[in-house]
Symmetry: C2
Subunit: 647 residues, 2 copies
């Protein structure tokens, strides 16, 4: 089993991603701060900061928003921390310190921290773990505390969350007198591992392991808790708690398919992979592999979205991937990236990075508007805006991004992911540095023979030219550089070292370059980036007879703005010749794909809904744009999958 | 405006339909009687008869089932009445008389009749018209009373419902002291018209007109009622009542599109068409035409199903006709047939009969199993059984017919429609006898110059050979026979009279044969019945790139049993040659359609969900069976619409 990544120093220098990261710092985080302070006009109120003020005794009032509202502040703080690490910003840091002061004041004497229960139900702490997100909120606060400490060296929030974690440790466990329970929404498990790593305190690792090991055992905790509570629910509900919903139906090691709420699932799997690595738990690792394969081979959209139904924001079953009634929550794809990152630490296999890249460049990037102030919660692959408004089965699908949400887990989650993107590019294992994502960056790795600096520059996602310059601390240092051979290049990637073409071996999807390195050695990695007409396997009924365009990591889509409507009247020609078009002015600068299609016309129809078949279409030029920028030109139809055929 | 159909005497003699009607009489009605008496093992209980016993004081107990449970007994009685009219059956009549005695005993002194309120909330009569179906149940009981009287001459139930209607007349109206309200589920309007026709009492016509005219006026009755009730709901609900749901959002004459609960809508439109005819209300007739066109041109499935969403069992909006998340309730298509029948009385236009036939031969017939003991409530056009179980958005779609339903409106509705099918075949207007449906029958019409007997024999739905023999009471009687030119013959129908080919004029979709008739004159009407590959207009996105097979009135479908799965991996060839195959042993005897297709294979796939496009299908023979017999061979996939293309 691989070793954990040594703490490396990675700074992103990338034309494509810098725009996103600048946007996060300059627009998104200030905007979200306003949102958390209920200062965005016409947006759904958050109440999150106000709740902390009330809990801290600084103002009077009622708790507002959902029971898990605290977590939005935590995720925002975590994102701020990542930004501050890269770009000192006194204004942002002041806001963050202000929030942290507030949080510290809201913490109770015994370490407990949760504004909902503190304000509204002080006597009912830990009585409804099933629904009330106390451990979930704690987990996010712990992640924030660790990140803020690591970014700024300031311990205040870290101390708060250590007291909180210590309190939780005193409440939960198998020992007599403790609650032998766990969280309704997994999150604290992965957070405690971060706290363990930051502090070196083994008890946090043990507590995380306890939560994972206890989950799903019989008698079922959530049933007992519900009985004890008098069978009441916080959210309207009835009947026995649905244990599959939060993956507590069987012990995690017995889980073979991804079920239930998708975000809960992938947050938990991430912690499982962490624990598998840290505790050398091969059984847990095997479960992670099984669940990974189930998700990514049977329950994942081509955009890296997961969760096929809005009912419970959940997985359904294998190959059920409807494009229009889809859920594909932003947070779920973020969690899938977390899971991929942990699996890569566990074992460097390109399949994890392929999925990580797919989710990052497509669903996660698509979830935020170009202006950084509008967000998707649900990320559909097919949108008919009228149906979103008028067919209740599609009401969860929004044809345009929203300013904020009553349940606004996704926007700050995107912020924290994109502002910590450097954590996902590389891992090290033994003498090998793995490059999983081709994102321009300056990195330093502490290798056995000395530090190694890598300077990577990348043309992705618009071209496949990657150049890496190696700067070992000592001349002739020996180590292995492993470059991912992305799935989308179909095995075609050319390698030059110092201008000389060289052959390479591939292991687990990585091209291995093992040699003694001189300072300034330069690797050219030319990854082929053809336009791919992708098809789905026949069992995925929703995509039957259709193709999706993909080029490099980007999945493309067709929008009404470019192609008219209904999009369903267009057939892409099976033998279409696809042309790339640089569009520097369009959608902040994209490469569009153009080709030949056929469009049925309604012109010669009378008012009948049905008539005998007559193919009376006409040839049309069609144009696709990256999925991740869809919906930035007003309301219109969009489709990733398009019918494909001969004419 | 046309005249109402004179009361004609029509007896069905038809190979195809006799099987259904025998089944209704011999199996369905006895079975449903058992169901109403909770004597069907493993079926959802009805409680309906038990409720009447309790209300009648014959037993102790609690009310069971839905608030509208009485209506199932009423519809069953109505169906029994139609059967008894054609086939005396002492056993069945005894059961019916027994039920009627019970109903009479359950009627209150003032004429009120409703077991829910009598048993459970005696003090709260007429306080929740929005939800509690009192007038709906009354309407069904009135229909039963009229039918039973007309079939048997027995007045007991007619007297009961007259007293009930008189009571309702005393409670509702614009006069001071009356409730100025109307029903949450329309039904009584059309029932009162039947009662008016049966009794000649104008007050019933006036009361029906009152309910129609009052509906949708401001201030909104249902809002006022809800406020007055303290904003409580019988069914879990919240917020202001949704007025579009029951078509009370605006006065009926201002309604331009079909909205809300589909059954409520078409029951109401039927009454509107009745009233338009009886009261010469051209404005109401115009509304009916507008609503008819909206439904049948923009919101109807090719199977004659209506209602695109399970949320509120409702219409959505134009061209939104998803095949898999469909509702298409059986009762809604029955109501559409009612509406068509009334429109044909108002004005004989073939478009009404085309739709009536479509709904009858497809959705309505499909709703019952071949054994007569299993029923569909929802009639999908595409079924993936695993998804019905595991994707909550499709949970309302059942892949197999059910024994009974907690809300079991559909099964007795099918029974009453099929047992009164003779009422839908002909109308008369002036000197013209219109043949709308080609169902073998012996009929007598009282025409101006004397009675005219018609003997029609029909090969439908398996062939288009129709023969009609005319027997005027007097030689050389002059009248016009109008034969519908069905939409599906594409204008190809050959007419012979006494063996001589003759040309004919077409008006409003009917071939007109106006002459002086001799006794025994014989008309041969050979309607072309090609296999049609039907396509949907491009705006119907769910059917894009697909075709449905139709031959004569029958829409066909593809089943897993014949074609394997997934059905979505099959493409029908655009230039396929379709062959008819007589299958006397299959599904009670059908004509199947066979042709050429292409099937994608999963065989050469590894475990990837997506890959670059490769057309690696193989030619296959495909086989379609009539939609109305689908799902009689176990659980499997089914699809009406199939992808169509070139290979």
């Amino acid at each position: 089993m691989s070793q954990q990544t040594p703490r490396s120093d990675v700074i992103i220098r990338d034309a494509y991603w810098s725009r996103y990261r600048d946007l996060i710092r300059e627009v998104v985080l200030p905007y979200q701060w306003d949102a958390l302070n209920d200062a965005v006009a016409d947006a759904e109120p958050s109440y999150a900061i106000q709740n902390f003020k009330i809990a801290a005794g600084l103002m009077e009032g009622e708790f507002g928003g959902f029971v898990f509202q605290d977590s939005d502040v935590a995720k925002w703080l975590e994102a701020v921390a990542y930004c501050l690490k890269n770009y000192p910003d006194a204004g942002l840091e002041r806001k963050a310190d202000e929030a942290i002061d507030l949080i510290a004041k809201a913490q109770q004497g015994d370490g407990y921290l949760n504004t909902y229960f503190t304000i509204k139900e002080p006597g009912r702490r830990w009585t409804n773990l099933l629904e009330c997100h106390e451990l979930y909120c704690a987990g996010h606060m712990i992640e924030a505390g660790v990140a803020y400490y690591e970014a700024t060296g300031k311990r205040k929030l870290l101390d708060v969350v250590c007291r909180l974690a210590d309190h939780i440790d005193s409440v939960f466990g198998t020992e007599e007198g403790k609650i032998r329970g766990y969280d309704g929404h997994q999150e604290i498990e992965l957070a405690l591992i971060k706290l363990y790593k930051a502090t070196g305190e083994e008890k946090y690792l043990r507590l995380s392991k306890y939560f994972i090991d206890e989950r799903g055992r019989r008698p079922h905790f959530f049933i007992q808790e519900w009985e004890k509570r008098g069978r009441t629910y916080h959210f309207p509900g009835h009947g026995t708690p649905n244990l599959e919903y939060n993956q507590s139906h069987v012990p995690v090691r017995e889980q073979k398919t991804a079920v239930g709420h998708a975000v809960r699932a992938v947050y938990m799997y991430s912690a499982m992979a962490d624990l598998a690595l840290l505790t050398h738990d091969e059984e847990l690792a095997a479960s992670c592999r099984t669940l990974w394969d189930d998700i990514t081979k049977k329950q994942m959209y081509i955009t890296g979205g997961i969760g096929s139904t809005s009912h419970g924001e959940a997985f359904t079953f294998e190959y059920d991937l409807p494009n229009d009634t889809v859920y594909a929550e932003t947070c779920a794809s973020i969690g899938l990236i977390f899971f991929a990152q942990r699996m890569l630490r566990l074992e460097a296999k390109a399949k994890y990075a392929d999925v990580m890249e797919r989710a990052l460049y497509n669903t996660v990037s698509a979830s935020m508007s170009l202006d950084g102030k509008h967000y998707f919660y649900v990320n559909p692959l097919e949108v008919w805006p009228d149906a979103c408004r008028q067919n209740p089965g599609k009401r969860h699908v929004k044809p345009v991004r929203q300013k904020w949400f009553g349940c606004s887990c996704c926007p700050p989650n995107v912020a924290r992911l994109l502002s910590s993107l450097e954590q996902y590019i590389y891992t090290c294992s033994g003498d090998t540095i793995y490059t999983h994502l081709f994102i321009g960056s300056d990195a330093v790795f502490p290798m056995e023979e000395g530090n190694v600096a890598l300077v990577m520059r990348s043309g992705l996602p618009w071209n496949g030219q990657v150049r890496i310059t190696v700067h070992p601390e000592h001349e002739q240092e020996s180590f292995c550089l492993a470059l991912r051979v992305p799935e989308w290049c179909c095995g075609k990637a050319a390698l030059h070292v110092n201008g000389q073409p060289i052959d390479y071996d591939i292991r687990d999807g990585y091209a291995l370059i093992r040699r003694r390195w001189a300072k300034g050695d330069t690797i050219e990695w030319e990854i082929d980036m053809p336009v791919l007409m992708m098809q789905a396997r026949p069992e995925i009924r929703a995509d039957a007879g259709k193709v999706a365009l993909q080029r490099g990591p980007l999945v493309y889509c067709f929008e009404e703005a470019d192609n008219g409507a209904p999009l369903s009247s267009i057939t892409l020609l099976e033998n279409a010749h696809w042309t790339l078009r640089d569009e520097p002015e369009l959608l902040n600068g994209i490469v569009a794909i153009e080709g030949d299609g056929w469009m049925e016309s309604a012109e010669d129809w009378d008012d009948r809904p049905y008539r005998p078949y007559a193919d009376n279409g006409r040839p049309v030029r069609v144009k696709a744009v990256p999925y991740n920028v869809w919906g930035n030109r007003g309301v219109g139809e969009m489709s990733v999958w398009m019918r494909c055929g001969r004419k």
